[in-house]
């Protein structure tokens, strides 16, 4: 018998329970991570902007939002004008204000970061302005008269929504197909709950759809319910915003058992849960991985009341995909992060995971090697968060060209098929950010419009 099993388990049942916290704690833990700025705070913060020429923040923003202008519009008490400035470049400016890693984008480029180490709080100002306008009934943009052209958008995530909205603005009729029950993609199913509270993802979807001219078909998955060939037949153009459906796996030797799952599945369940106190979480949780998903899973586990949460990443700190700010958040939540260790073996007791053995790693000559030194962490739940990948086959695998495992596109986001465009996480060369997906959708829409108007 393995000596670790003997020491750890001794007939212990896995400690997995719901309702570990008092009801008000769930509200606190899953409330707004960054409470919105009130008017006074917004004015004080907006006042710090220098209204730079050819501002570095605009260059740093993947959607090229005219940041100094929208901040000036907040300063002059014209928040709706500010929101229009934002939405004209990024129709998902509301969600981006909540989830964008501004600390490595616009706020990092801000000249006040260079001057005093204290950038203007651009993300929070963006939320302030977009919140004001989204309270309104009226959509800020007007649809052009109908062109009679029809476009299919596959995937109702940020890339698809952005593309659909811009096409609808130009007067085309758009149908969004999505395999899930609700559209919104990762905004609805993946972003950490405390970043998007009060069903904001769906509010934003409704806001976007209110331009008119967009039909939604949910429960329609490419490959299963519809094919690319038939879409190309029925529509004048197709946009693929498929995201990353595949989940990277960690192959480990073990007997069949439960308790080790993909983090993205648990996060999706958490996002859709009506009552967080009904969601079971282990007392001891281990998360394998080093990106934002790992951080989100770990933080949310702690916030559900797990006692010990550890992230184990196979490389060292500098190589972690998660941003500094995300890592600090997790650590403030009490998550322990261990570096330079990779999973070696899962340990189970009576068919359920009870621990996970890791081996320390070392990078030699560019390759990651085990050092031979191991340790074991007790775990009632293990989550894999080692990345997602693109699954090509639903998108007519033979015909579409790929590059490094994702769809290859040109500068206008056009694939090798002249009536098919693509954007978001499913295309090669992207940064897997919501804001980049929005830009892809917008560029593709302008390109499709150009082609359809020719």
């Amino acid at each position: 018998m393995d000596r670790w099993e003997h020491v750890m388990t001794a007939g212990r049942e896995p400690d997995i329970a719901a309702g570990r916290l008092a009801p008000e704690d769930y509200k606190t833990n899953f409330g707004d991570l960054h409470p919105p700025l009130d008017k006074h705070q917004a004015f004080v913060e907006a006042d710090r902007c220098y209204f730079c020429h050819d501002a570095p923040c605009i260059t740093a923003c993947p959607t090229g939002i005219d940041i100094p202008m929208f901040i000036r519009e907040i300063q002059t008490d014209n928040p709706k004008g500010a929101a229009e400035t934002i939405f004209s470049q990024n129709i998902l400016g509301g969600m981006c204000a909540r989830v964008c890693p501004t600390e490595v984008l616009c706020e990092q480029a801000c000249v006040r970061e260079a001057a005093e180490g204290k950038p203007v709080r651009i993300g929070e100002l963006q939320r302030y302005a977009t919140d004001v306008l989204m309270e309104e009934e009226a959509h800020p943009f007007t649809r052009q008269p109908s062109t009679g052209k029809v476009v299919a958008v596959v995937g109702g995530g940020p890339a698809g929504l952005s593309c659909a909205h811009r096409l609808a603005m130009h007067g085309h009729d758009v149908t969004i197909y999505d395999g899930r029950e609700k559209i919104g993609g990762l905004n609805e199913y993946g972003i950490a709950a405390y970043k998007t509270v009060d069903d904001f993802a769906q509010d934003e979807v409704n806001f976007i759809l209110s331009i008119g001219g967009i039909t939604i078909e949910t429960g329609q998955q490419l490959g299963r319910d519809i094919t690319l060939a038939e879409l190309r037949e029925r529509f004048d153009a197709v946009f693929l915003g498929l995201g990353l459906a595949g989940v990277n796996a960690v192959e480990l030797p073990h007997d069949p058992f439960s308790g080790a799952d993909d983090a993205i599945d648990y996060i999706a369940e958490l996002r859709q849960a009506d009552d967080l106190d009904a969601l079971p979480i282990g007392r001891r949780v281990v998360v394998v991985g080093g990106g934002m998903t790992a951080i989100d899973q770990a933080s949310q586990s702690k916030r559900l009341g797990a006692e010990d949460v550890t992230i184990v990443y196979r490389r060292d700190e500098d190589r972690m995909g998660a941003s500094d700010r995300a890592r600090e958040l997790a650590q403030t939540d009490g998550v322990n992060i261990k570096y330079n260790a990779q999973p070696k073996r899962l340990i189970d007791t009576k068919g359920h995971v009870s621990g996970i053995e890791f081996e320390y790693t070392d990078e030699r000559g560019g390759a990651l090697m085990g050092t031979g030194e191991t340790f074991v962490l007790e775990a009632d739940m293990v989550f894999w968060a080692v990345g997602q990948n693109f699954v090509l086959s639903p998108a007519d695998g033979e015909a579409i060209k790929t590059s490094q495992g994702r769809i290859a596109v040109d500068q206008e986001r056009r694939t090798n098929l002249l009536d098919v465009w693509a954007g978001g996480d499913c295309i090669a060369g992207g940064e897997d950010l919501t804001v980049v997906a929005v830009e892809d959708g917008k560029i593709a829409a302008e390109s499709i419009n150009r082609v359809l108007s020719a």
Binding site: K39, H40, M69, R72, T76, N78, K80, G81
Partner: protein, 436 residues
């Protein structure tokens, strides 16, 4: 979407935002950039007779800064154009041809002799510019030569030159007024009497922005010497607003077109000038502080404001505040207000207390029940509003009207209407007629 199109003294532009005559409107290069940025019109930097004047080859600007080095006042010793007249005229003609929908007015300053004005007017007419603006405002340089403010401070000269110009051209004539004068109504009346189509105000205010305390010269200095300059920017906006309102209220210049100038930086500044009677506005210092893109904020802001108010065009805003602009002696002495501090917004800095205690009426507490707490004492508060203006948090202190009983501070009534002309303490009081 409100209609921002403007027609001022018969001159049309797509919006009421013009640039004033100054370095930003010196050359074709600048003006074309301005039009590309969206400005509705420009007044070309003042042309004069050749040979052109020369500017100093060194600092021409002094500044006054608020916190974080925010520029709130700019003083300049810049003169009129230092480029030859033919080059300017050629550029004006070309720009007007290329931008037909934008207003292009030419500012002029020549010696106070009719032939000089006739000659330059005929040259400007040939450019097909939309109008001329007579520069009677430069407080430095030119006034030392009998031009600029030397004319603007003498109403008779204004009327005379305006008359010469109206006789010599069919173009609309705008007279730009200097604020360095006691009563702005006299120059405005003179411009109108001379037949001018409109006035624009204000030009710059005499100023020295700072003194070098090591070399003992005003700044900026050239070769160790400093001079007074012309002050502009947000710091002078209140002076300009008051002068615009004086002209708009004056029965002799009622509805006389006024182009508002003076520290306009945002849509709100512009709207305030319009509300006090300006038909359009001109900007300079804000553009010289932030660049031409500021016009985008102005357009967006004014548009949203007009929509919110249900105004379909700018004209509906012009002069709307004039009926409510009166003289001090007619203010209602029975309208009593007291300051109210919102304890939820108060950050307890204590500034309201100390300014009231040291310099005013000792009407704000510093403590209550032994703890730091700031609250207004009605029996001492005269409603002066000083605390509202020094408080760093917007809307933390507001004024509340007392609507019944007597004022606890003065014992005076709080209802009805009584002004100084009727008050018993006024030896010149007019008694009200007894009721029939």
């Amino acid at each position: 979407m409100a209609d921002l199109r403007s027609s001022f003294a018969g001159i049309k532009s797509p919006n009421p935002f013009w640039l004033a005559s100054a370095p930003p409107t010196d050359k074709e290069y600048n003006v074309v950039r301005a039009f590309k940025a969206g400005w509705g019109g420009v007044v070309w930097k003042t042309l004069g007779e050749d040979p052109p004047i020369v500017n100093v080859a060194g600092p021409r600007y002094g500044g006054v800064h608020a916190g974080d080095r925010r520029l709130i006042g700019l003083s300049n010793t810049e003169l009129i154009t230092d480029r030859p007249l033919p080059i300017n005229l050629e550029e004006i003609k070309r720009v007007k041809r290329d931008w037909p929908d934008r207003a292009l007015v030419v500012s002029l300053m020549v010696p106070c002799e009719e032939p000089s004005w006739k000659a330059i007017l005929s040259a400007v007419e040939e450019t097909e510019a939309d109008g001329i603006e007579l520069n009677f405002g430069c407080p430095h340089g030119m006034s030392e030569r009998g031009m600029g403010a030397a004319v603007g401070q003498v109403p008779e000269y204004i009327e005379m030159v305006a008359r010469w110009c109206k006789a010599a051209t069919r173009m609309p004539v705008i007279v730009k007024l200097t604020p360095n004068i006691t009563d702005i109504r006299y120059p405005a009346r003179a411009a109108k009497a001379g037949g001018a189509d409109a006035v624009s105000l204000v030009n710059t205010v005499n100023s020295i922005t700072s003194v070098d305390l090591d070399h003992f010269a005003p700044e900026p200095s050239i070769d160790g010497k400093g001079v007074h300059g012309g002050y502009s920017g947000p710091a002078i906006r209140p002076i300009a607003l008051s002068m615009v309102s004086e002209i708009a209220r004056d029965p002799e210049t009622q509805a006389y077109p006024i182009s508002g100038i003076g520290g306009i930086s945002t849509w709100r500044d512009a709207a305030e000038f319009l509300a006090l009677g300006a038909g359009n506005i001109q900007v300079c210092t804000a553009a010289m502080t932030y660049g031409f893109r500021i016009v985008e904020e102005m357009i967006s802001g004014l548009d949203h404001y007009l929509d919110e108010k249900g105004f379909s065009s700018v004209d509906e805003l012009v002069g709307r505040a004039i009926p409510n602009t009166t003289d001090w002696q007619y203010l209602n002495l029975n309208h009593v207000t007291k300051a109210r501090i919102d304890q939820d917004l108060c950050i307890e800095c204590g500034r309201c207390h100390i300014v009231c205690e040291d310099t005013s009426h000792q009407a704000i507490t510093a403590t209550k029940n032994g703890r730091r707490h700031f609250e207004v004492v009605d029996a001492e508060c005269v409603g002066c509003n000083l605390c509202v203006n020094v408080c760093p948090v917007e809307n933390c202190i507001t004024m509340e009207q007392l609507s019944s009983g007597a004022d606890p501070q003065s014992g005076a009534p709080t209802t009805g209407y009584l002004n100084w002309t009727q008050h018993k303490n006024n030896p010149m009081a007019k008694r009200t007629e007894p009721a029939e």
